[in-house]
Amino acid sequence: MTQAILIRYDEIGIKGKNRPDFVRQLVANIRRATGLSKDAVQIEWGRIYLHPSGDPQKLRERLSMVFGVRSFSVVLVVPHELERMREAAVELARRAVARGARTFKIEARRSFKAFPLNSMEINQELGRAILRALPELRVDVHAPDVTIEVEVRHEGVFLCSERIAGPGGLPVGVAGRALLLLSGGIDSPVAGWMLMKRGVAVDAVYFHSPPYVGEKAKEKVLELGRVLARWRAEALTVYVPCFTEIQVEVSRVAPPSLWTILFRRFMHRVAERIAERYGYGALATGESLGQVASQTMENLACVDAVTRMLVLRPLIGWDKAEIVRLAREIGTYEISILPYEDCCVLFAPRHPETHARPERVEAIEAHLEVPRLVEGALDRLEVFSVTEREISPVTASPST
């Protein structure tokens, strides 16, 4: 009797040509998250089996963070012999009793038709064995405390008693790459997480404004990146352009009510340049409609007007309370609320314009050397590679 982990993934929507890519990416991500070797991963039709050398329970937390995993179970694997199957079923029932189960049922499936018993007969045989070994258990086919699933497959018989939910979604990497505008706030990390859940490989850009904003604010964003990196299965890159000159120039020529919209237009311009340089298919932000005064439809349109690139806003229809709930769940909330000012807060006017007219904004930008300012922000681009275990500066940054 050996133990393995059975991973189930959703096949809806990934029929046909995408399927092999999906599975390949999922397996690669699982291996990165768990550190398992190639030999420890077995791919069968519609299934992935892991054969960890140590305690399979230890992989639970890791697997619950791999997008694309719908659910997983610790399974006992035995050969096509009724006696071995009985032993395994009794073992699972014993574990369930230890957890407090009183009733059970067996749910057998037989895809290996050469096996002499059909699924009904397997149910009866194993059920009897359990009742004999553990008289305190009773059968309940409607609402059992534990369901022991038995699958008789060509390669062996697999038994499990517990399905642990995975995060669902698509494996990170199958849906392209996006560059997330990551501030220190609550929303943007959540937006990044949601895109990763849809299979997007997300990296981030943070606009740093020394000396108006200190190192702590930057470190806070890197720390947010570290939390997101757990879900990415790979290092997350954080690009840190220097935003100071843009903020100083904008605040010199524009009325305070237009600062926010102008800053955002510059951020998107700079982000688009980084995206082009490093090969991202979209920008992403944590904006939701009307959530703060500046995030109105007019303002979003006014920002989108400066770039040609697709801008993904996964939180667009979300309430603040919903965003906060998810931020807590994924572990970014506690970091986001740390009190270090990000660049938006410091240069935040008291009454931002809610209905920015593009002509007016453009008229002000005519007083600014827009291309030079964008280039200037990129001249001093810092790049960090962030994993769950390490934050390290990347020195070589290929320039255009």
Binding site: G54, K58, E61, G214, E215, K216, K218, E219, E223, E334, E388, R389, E390, I391
Partner: protein, 384 residues
């Protein structure tokens, strides 16, 4: 050079070279105060944060559940006094055992002076406490159970996961603390229902003055130190950055192939026991269910201090009972608690191994022990 065989690793351990290397940048270059807002501060704070993440990952807890301390004594004090003072309105009863480290026992004595009632559970001949015995001693007034994971003198492994589960099933409000100072790296640690867990750096090849208390989410503690509010307000004082980096590195080294290390310790223990059993009069005090790194053995009739001096002449360093008790010439409270006869206690010597202990060390020590016992059993110091 004369051969030195250090078999007193339960007292303290040499700092691992890898640990020294990991700490090196944090003395003179990255010396910043983690609370400072500038880069020097941020890089020090990052080092503390990454160390915390490493320890959390290895112990299977959340990052915010790791509180850095100055070591085992502080961890035990913070856990026991912290919980008692936070929960005194709920009840005034504490449950512990007679074989705890003085840091636990003396913390309990201090609390008795504050009006708390403490039950010191008896142990069996192996130093074992059963979950049933713990459950039976709970009262409606009980707020805290503190039971060590591995005993420092005998090496006994106590079933803390089972004990914690028992206690929590009876009353989930009771806080469970365990002193894991002698357990980390010597037996698998599965905290399960345990709320508070003390670890110390210098027992696992990190420097003295380092340690951590694991404080599971939702456990309320009154801090011992007032000040700048570091460590979630539970342990004010500028972080020992280099020490913290060293602690994390040491734990990481411990957990690199822990299974392999435990197997190696078993080999050492078997070799040692094999040799010791051939010495006339040897009596093994450590139970079967103990960590492989601790062997407590007596040679009735041979006074332990004299035996230690004789061993030291051959370059072998071991200890009698607990290091602190030996000075006062008081009998070990642990060995008394397991009801060993006085002549067995007075001749008991503890040998404790580490991953730096070699099979040759063990053989050298066994020979030295054999010669010393034969000499002393006949000499003037025997049978007073």
């Amino acid at each position: 050079m004369r051969r030195e065989v250090y078999l007193d690793n339960n007292a303290t351990t040499p700092v691992a070279p890898e640990v020294v290397e990991a700490m090196a940048p944090y003395w003179h270059e990255r010396f910043g105060n983690p609370s400072s807002a500038h880069r020097k501060g941020v890089e020090a704070e990052r080092a503390v944060r990454m160390s915390r993440a490493t320890i959390a990952r290895l112990l299977g807890v959340n990052e915010n559940e790791v509180i850095f301390t100055s070591g085992g004594t502080e961890g035990d004090n913070l856990a026991i006094k912290g919980v008692a003072r936070a929960l005194r309105r709920r009840g005034m009863h504490i449950l512990t055992t007679r074989i705890e480290h003085p840091a636990v026992l003396e913390s309990c004595r201090d609390l008795e002076a504050e009006g708390f009632r403490v039950t010191y559970l008896d142990v069996d001949a192996e130093g074992m406490v059963t979950p049933e015995a713990v459950e039976a001693a709970l009262t409606p007034e009980t707020i805290l159970v503190s039971i060590m994971h591995v005993n420092n003198e005998l090496g006994t492994i106590l079933p803390i996961s089972e004990i914690a589960e028992r206690v929590k099933r009876r009353n989930p409000e009771i806080v469970v603390h365990s002193d894991g100072v002698q357990a980390i790296g010597k037996t698998p640690v599965d905290l399960g229902w345990v709320d508070l867990y003390t670890i110390s750096g210098h027992k696992i090849h990190a420097p003295k003055g380092t340690g951590a208390l694991i404080v599971r989410e939702g456990v309320r503690l009154v801090p011992l130190l007032s000040g700048g509010g570091q460590e979630r307000g539970l342990r004010s004082g500028t972080e020992n950055v280099a020490g913290i980096v060293g602690l994390a590195r040491a734990l990481e080294l411990m957990y690199e192939d822990l299974e392999g290390k435990l197997a190696y310790f078993r080999t050492l223990r078997e070799r040692f026991l094999e040799g010791v059993r051939r010495i006339p009069g040897a009596r093994i005090n450590s139970p079967e269910r103990s960590v492989s790194t601790t062997v407590n053995v007596s040679f009735p009739g041979v006074p332990a201090e004299v035996l230690l001096h004789a061993l030291e002449e051959e370059g072998v360093f071991a200890s009698t009972g607990a290091a602190c008790a030996s000075r006062k010439r008081r009998r070990s409270h642990v060995l008394e608690a397991v009801h060993l006869p006085p002549e067995v206690i007075d001749s008991s010597v503890r040998f404790s191994f580490s991953r730096y202990t070699t099979v040759e060390d063990i053989e050298w020590a066994v020979h030295a022990l054999h010669r010393a016992v034969e000499r002393l059993a006949l000499g003037p110091s025997a049978r007073r």
